[in-house]
């Protein structure tokens, strides 16, 4: 399992569009993707609804725990998506 961490940078946080972009990307990988917030609450990273329900806002810390055959690629791509603000701006 690999663990990665970053902060949410887009203006609106995990509203519906970013959550969908992220969960769609996560779903492409075989690995399990668990997303945690700073309070330790977690969700399946392939769930739009679960991501929205964690209430990430801009500046929030976000932790990814990925385990599976393609965990390295998944980690890189998912962190990239967050850091590139889900293509916003």
């Amino acid at each position: 399992m690999i663990k990665k961490e970053t902060t949410i940078k887009n203006k609106e946080g995990f509203h519906i569009r970013p959550a969908q972009i992220f969960s769609n990307a996560a779903s492409k990988f075989e690995s399990d993707v668990v997303v945690l917030n700073k309070d330790g609450n977690s969700t399946n990273g392939k769930s739009t609804l679960g991501l929205m329900a964690l209430g990430f806002e801009t500046g929030s810390k976000i932790i990814l725990e990925i385990s599976g055959k393609d965990e390295i690629e998944a980690g890189n791509e998912l962190i990239n998506i967050i850091d590139n603000k889900f293509g916003e701006d």
Binding site: T48, L49, M52, G55
Partner: protein, 580 residues
């Protein structure tokens, strides 16, 4: 049938009369029961069948919405559809059936409620609204579990009706055809709810928040929706109906009459010209101001720029906003008021302490002088924008001479900075101060040589002069624009300013109150600045009056001891001229 009046909240103004159409959505989930363990696989099949049918019908709806409303509206429904396959949604419902032997309805309800609860507790209004998306999909899904309970298609409404519902969800409102909906009456909702925003943006009279609505009203009842008063009258008596028909008729002729004056100037019969400007907070409102015939912006509130962002807006963002508005107003003047935050308007990111008396506390210029870096950023942005149009600078909430002096020093400092950086700005930019604290009105002689103009903010002036909390119902009788003390302060400020050749504007809500117009004419106020939609009526009213008469009236008013007397004098004066 007896006439019955239901009281709610008017969220979209206007009156409409018509027949009721009740949207019965069967929001209740049917079987909240548990099942026996041998029924589990059957229940799971029922759930899956409902999901497939629901998804297929949503696909059809999405296509329809795309064609009729565009991708943006379809996106809301697409988002809802994706919940049906979401790993946090569907498998959880299955889980309750498998492990807890819930019926499909009960399991669905449980999961929907969990998410509704989470979203409703979130800080952002955007996320709060997502609770209705979840409810919406929950209702749809549930309806497919019980195929006999046909969902009503709002698109099938093909005659003009007053729509009555317990609640309307985003997927409902996108299906409505504007031309068939005369009015809306909704049991639930708040002023900022989806339905309210929808109704006012479509110009549909709407009343919300009526308890037990759906039990009091039925299909084909005759009703009047009065969005101005926030009431709904069921089975109105003939006299009521005629009164309302007359009101509708009058409204139409009145509006037609006022609209003729939109592009005219406000000049009294004996030749006094008063500039009519608009109060705005955004570019959209600037467009509205133009459409209603504003001759400039008398008050540009800058709080919106700060409140719509999660951190302090930088110089470039502010410059962009101010310049956009100035461009829209072409050669007309725009008075920009510096940040008036505090009181009832907070900026969470400033992390100021909660105060016991926020209206008497750390707000507006007090806060700006305490956070010079914030103030300097704004002054730079405003000054830079002044290179692109006719901007005047307005300082709010000055309560003593020292504050004005410090502010002027800062402005000079910023001007010097900009000159050194060779950045263009209007070197002759006019500076004004708000008169909203009695101490400055009383000592107006001290300030008159220091600024180019005054703008009287009547809302705060009344609040501070009368020592009355604007929001407290118990003391609202004291909140009176027409109290003799207020009239006297306005008179004093205007006379002193004019004796020094300085310009006086009024930008509080009193400026758009036509009852006050004769006073402003008598005093020779230079500018009245108001919400854009009041402009045509005020222009019309001014054109019907003569200053000579208004001065005689003012002399009478100045002898009154009570606001009530002043108001009745004004009413009679306007009545005599058929203007009331």
């Amino acid at each position: 049938m007896l006439e019955k009046i239901l009281y709610g909240i008017g969220v979209s103004s206007g009156i409409s009369i018509g027949k009721v159409f009740v949207v019965d959505k069967n929001e209740e989930y049917y079987e909240y029961k548990n099942i026996s363990s041998d029924k589990v696989s059957n229940e799971l099949k029922r759930l899956n069948k409902a999901r497939e049918k629901c998804a297929a019908d949503l696909d059809k709806l999405i296509e329809k919405v795309k064609v009729e409303f565009g991708d943006e509206k379809a996106f809301i429904i697409e988002g809802q559809k994706s919940f049906l396959t979401d790993p946090s949604f569907y498998p959880e419902i299955e889980g309750y059936i498998k492990k807890d032997f819930f019926s499909a309805e009960k399991a669905l309800k449980k999961v929907v409620e969990k998410f509704v609860d989470i979203f409703e507790k979130m800080n952002s209004d955007y996320m709060k609204e997502r609770a209705s998306d979840i409810k919406d999909i929950g209702n749809r899904f549930s309806n497919y579990l019980n195929p006999d309970n046909k969902i009503f298609d709002l698109k099938s409404i093909k005659e003009k009706v007053i729509l009555v519902a317990d609640d309307l969800l985003p997927s409902d409102t996108v299906q409505l055809e504007r031309k068939y909906i005369l009015g809306l009456v909704i049991a639930k909702g708040g002023k900022t709810s989806h339905t309210s925003i929808f109704a006012s943006s479509m110009g549909i009279p709407a009343v919300i928040s009526i308890n037990n609505l759906c039990n009091l009203i039925k299909n084909n009842d005759n009703v009047i929706v009065d969005g101005d008063k926030g009431i709904c009258i069921i089975n109105p008596e003939k006299t009521t109906l005629e009164k309302y028909k007359q009101r509708l008729e009058n409204k139409k002729t009145e509006v037609d009459l006022y609209n003729k004056y939109k592009k005219e100037k406000a000049i009294t019969k004996d030749g006094l010209y008063i500039k009519i400007a608009a109060n705005i907070g955004s570019l959209d409102e600037a467009i509205q101001a133009n459409e209603n015939g504003a001759e400039g912006i008398g008050l540009l509130r800058t709080e919106q720029v700060y409140m719509s962002s999660k951190k302090l807006p930088d110089e470039e963002i502010q410059l962009h906003t101010y310049k956009g508005i100035v461009d829209k107003m072409s050669s007309q003047s725009v008075i920009i008021r510096t940040l008036d935050i505090g009181g009832d308007k907070e900026l969470p990111y400033l992390e100021n302490e909660k105060e016991l008396n926020p209206f008497l506390g750390y707000r507006a210029i007090r806060l700006c002088l305490g956070h010079e870096e914030i103030f300097i950023t704004q002054l730079r942005a405003i000054l830079r924008a002044s290179a692109f149009g006719k901007i005047k600078l307005l300082i709010p909430m000055i309560s003593c001479f020292d504050e004005l002096k410090k502010t002027k020093d800062l402005i000079e400092k910023v001007k010097k900075q900009l000159s050194e950086e060779k950045i263009a700005f209007d070197k002759e930019i006019k500076l004004g101060m708000m008169i909203e604290i009695p101490s400055t009105a009383i000592m107006i002689e001290n300030y008159v040589k220091e600024v180019d103009f005054f703008s009287i903010g009547t809302n705060d002036l009344v609040q501070y002069t009368m020592a009355v909390d604007r929001i407290n119902d118990k003391v609202s009788y004291l909140y009176d624009n027409f109290h003799p003390a207020i009239i006297n302060l306005i008179k004093k400020v205007t006379e002193v300013a004019h004796s020094h050749g300085k310009f006086v504007g009024i930008c509080g809500s009193m400026a758009g109150e036509y009852l006050a117009i004769p006073i402003f004419i008598a005093l020779g106020i230079d500018e009245l600045s108001m919400t854009a939609n009041s402009i045509p009526k005020i222009k019309y009213t001014i054109n019907q009056l003569s200053r000579k008469d208004c001065i005689l009236l003012l002399n009478k008013i100045l002898k009154c001891q009570m606001g009530l007397d002043i108001k009745s004098n004004l009413q009679n004066f306007l009545l005599e001229r058929k203007l009331y």
